[in-house]
């Protein structure tokens, strides 16, 4: 009897392991549409909540009045001056990080690629911290209109350098193995941490304060000029990412086969590297390093609509917005009026998710 039980348990376990993967692929089309509609509704609801909730709760009607103008001046100041830029920053950051993650995963044919894990965010951080610490004199020489761009520009350069290194690694290895990529990320993150350490060492008290807050990551620093710059840069990357859908699909067959099917592989790589550097650079400059959004959002999108990038990329962007807005809301409401770093919330969701992915791959 014990033997029969063992057999049953073994078979049950096997069925489960085998079933875990196929079930989501079989979702019928109406279900997919329903899921995407629910996701869009969630994004909308979170956006409203982001405007309404906080130390001062404002009812939805008050939010709308404040947006339209002509409401209570305090409410108007809170909604328009604080929460609206913060919301827009969240949308831009979520979109940029999620799409960059989706594109990196597609380009490297590796579902574990994430701007933060592989070091792109760290590269952006080095650029941003360098500006915070060393940029004072540089910024003084710039016209006031250009100053908001200095931080994103430096972050872009840092992110771009890392992506260049990653793609070189990918080209050398043909099909980049998970190990190469993650170990490369470890090395890049270590180098970046060392560089940031040096910058911290040479910074004065005020700079130290500023960069400590920046490193913790937050949407709260969203002043209008910075938010607008981030919004514009993130918006510029969106058509590049969405336009690469067919190319990213073809890349799943390998670079040689993608070329055979008519794809200009090098051109696609250059465009996506540029868009990723701009998107991650802008997001990191404005909100600090935020991990795991670029990992989790594309995965959830694939679970929802399948692997074809034409449908998967827009849904990835939606998931990115929902994740960042939800994380921001969580850190805002957890211990009011204090705020936790937003990276805490995304890592709390993303860390276990990443472990689950690793375990699942290991089983195969």
């Amino acid at each position: 009897m014990a033997r029969a039980g063992d057999r049953g348990g073994g078979a049950g376990g096997l069925t489960l392991a085998l079933d875990g993967t196929p079930r989501r692929g079989r979702w019928p089309l109406p279900g997919r549409h329903g899921a995407v509609a629910a996701l869009a509704l969630a994004a909308l609801g979170l956006a409203l909540a982001a405007l309404a909730l906080g130390p001062v709760a404002i009812p939805p009607a008050g939010v709308l009045e404040a947006l339209a103008g002509g409401a209570d001046p305090l409410q108007e100041a809170i909604v328009r001056g604080i929460r609206l830029p913060r919301l827009l920053l969240g949308l831009a950051v979520g979109t940029a990080l999620a799409l960059a993650g989706g594109a990196l995963q597609g380009m490297l044919r590796n579902p574990l690629a994430d701007p933060a894990l592989v070091g792109v965010s760290a590269g952006a951080s080095v650029g941003a911290v360098a500006v915070i610490v060393l940029g004072g004199t540089l910024a003084a020489g710039l016209p006031a209109a250009l100053r908001p761009y200095l931080l994103p520009a430096a972050a872009f350069l840092g992110a771009g350098a890392v992506i260049g290194a990653l793609f070189a690694l990918a080209r050398r290895a043909g099909e980049t193995s998970v190990a190469t990529l993650i170990l490369g990320g470890v090395a890049i993150n270590a180098i970046a941490a060392a560089l940031i350490g040096v910058l911290v060492f040479v910074s004065d008290d005020e700079q130290l304060r500023e960069l400590t807050f920046w490193t913790m990551g937050s949407l709260a620093s969203g002043t209008w000029p910075l938010v607008l710059v981030t919004l514009v840069l993130a918006a510029l990357t969106v058509p590049v990412f969405l336009g690469a859908a067919r190319g990213l699909d073809l890349m799943q067959l390998g670079e040689r086969a993608a070329f055979h099917a008519g794809l200009d592989v090098e051109r696609l790589k250059r465009r996506l590297a540029l868009a990723t550097a701009v998107g991650v650079g802008a997001a990191t400059a404005a909100a600090g390093p935020i991990g795991f959004v670029g990992l989790v959002a594309p995965h959830l999108a694939r679970l929802t609509v399948g692997p074809a990038h034409r449908a998967m990329l827009p849904v990835t962007a939606l998931y990115g917005m929902v994740l960042v807005l939800a994380a921001d809301l969580a850190v805002r409401l957890a211990v009011p009026p204090a705020e936790l770093p937003i990276g805490l919330a995304t890592s709390l969701i993303g860390g276990p998710f990443f472990l689950w992915l690793l375990l699942r791959r290991g089983r195969r």
Binding site: T21, P22, G25, R109, N110, R246, D249, L250, Q252, L253, G254, R256, A257, F259, H260, A261, G262, L263, D264, V265, G306, P307, A308
Partner: protein, 268 residues
């Protein structure tokens, strides 16, 4: 489509040493030869994926580099040696990937269905490729190459099919099915070049054979002329019997000799 005196060095080894080949429209040519002879490299040069150090490739009279990736894709379709997809597409999605965006969706759907039917996978269009058997998946990739070829024809170019080991990992019936699909494409005017390892299959299905060894084409012509016992024995390093097979095509049988240690069990 022609290759003229191609030389190519990859790393330290000289893979191509003066390989020349001319492929005509309407014919199936099989490229045969031992492992490491340079067959796949020659195919990659013809497809434009590799450029030779010396010598030149012409596709419809033009150099591959001048045509660009999209122009090449309209003129020639390629089945890679070990095709694989990192993403679990549905079979119809996989096949449709190779159809350029200039083809309207309805027509692309029809081409996909036609390509899938040609390799006997018409009923599998909605299946996820990671749920298919190895042979089904391989035929799926063959359908992808066929769909690209058909799309090229629909766009007024098309005409060349390059297949690197299209019968690998297929059972007898499906080996025949895939090569019949290639023959059907040739009957409609395509020039097909297929790397094959089964010499009897190559002799039965190809109009001409090209025997390759050490980076050169050693012999080229109708199967019976190329497949002589002496030549095959020299190239493959194994005695070979050539008989007349059922369809009048040469049938090749290697003569295996078990090594001495296997036959008897003697103790010292």
């Amino acid at each position: 489509m022609r290759a003229e005196d191609l030389h190519l060095r990859l790393g330290r080894s000289e893979v191509l040493r003066g390989a020349s080949l001319a492929l005509r429209r309407g014919e199936v040519m099989a490229l045969i030869g031992p492992n490491g002879a340079g067959k796949s490299t020659l195919l990659a040069c013809l497809s434009g994926a590799l450029s030779p150090d010396r010598g030149r490739v012409r596709i419809d009279g033009q150099a591959p580099a001048a045509l660009g990736p999209a122009g090449l894709a309209r003129r020639r379709a390629v089945l890679e040696q070990s095709p694989a997809s990192a993403a679990p597409f549905r079979l119809a999605e996989l096949v449709a990937l190779a159809i350029p965006p200039e083809i309207p969706p309805a027509e692309a759907g029809a081409l996909t269905a036609r390509a899938l039917a040609a390799v006997g996978l018409g009923a599998f269009a909605g299946r996820r490729i990671d749920r298919l058997s190895g042979g089904e998946r391989h035929r799926g990739h063959m359908a992808r190459a066929l769909a690209q070829h058909l799309a090229g024809r629909a766009l007024g170019a098309g005409g060349w099919l390059l297949l690197d080991e299209p019968t690998a990992s297929l059972d007898l019936r499906h080996q025949a099915a895939v090569l019949q699909a290639a023959r059907a494409a040739a009957a409609e005017g395509a020039g097909v070049l297929a790397v094959l390892h089964d010499l009897s299959l190559a002799a039965a299905m190809a109009d001409r054979l090209a025997l390759m060894a050490e980076g050169r084409i050693l012999a080229e012509g109708p199967p019976a002329a190329v497949l002589t016992p002496e030549r095959l024995a020299a190239v493959y390093g194994l005695p070979v019997a050539v008989a007349e097979g059922p369809g009048g095509h040469p049938a090749i049988t290697p003569i295996y000799r078990a090594s001495q240690g296997d036959s008897t069990c003697s103790s010292p």
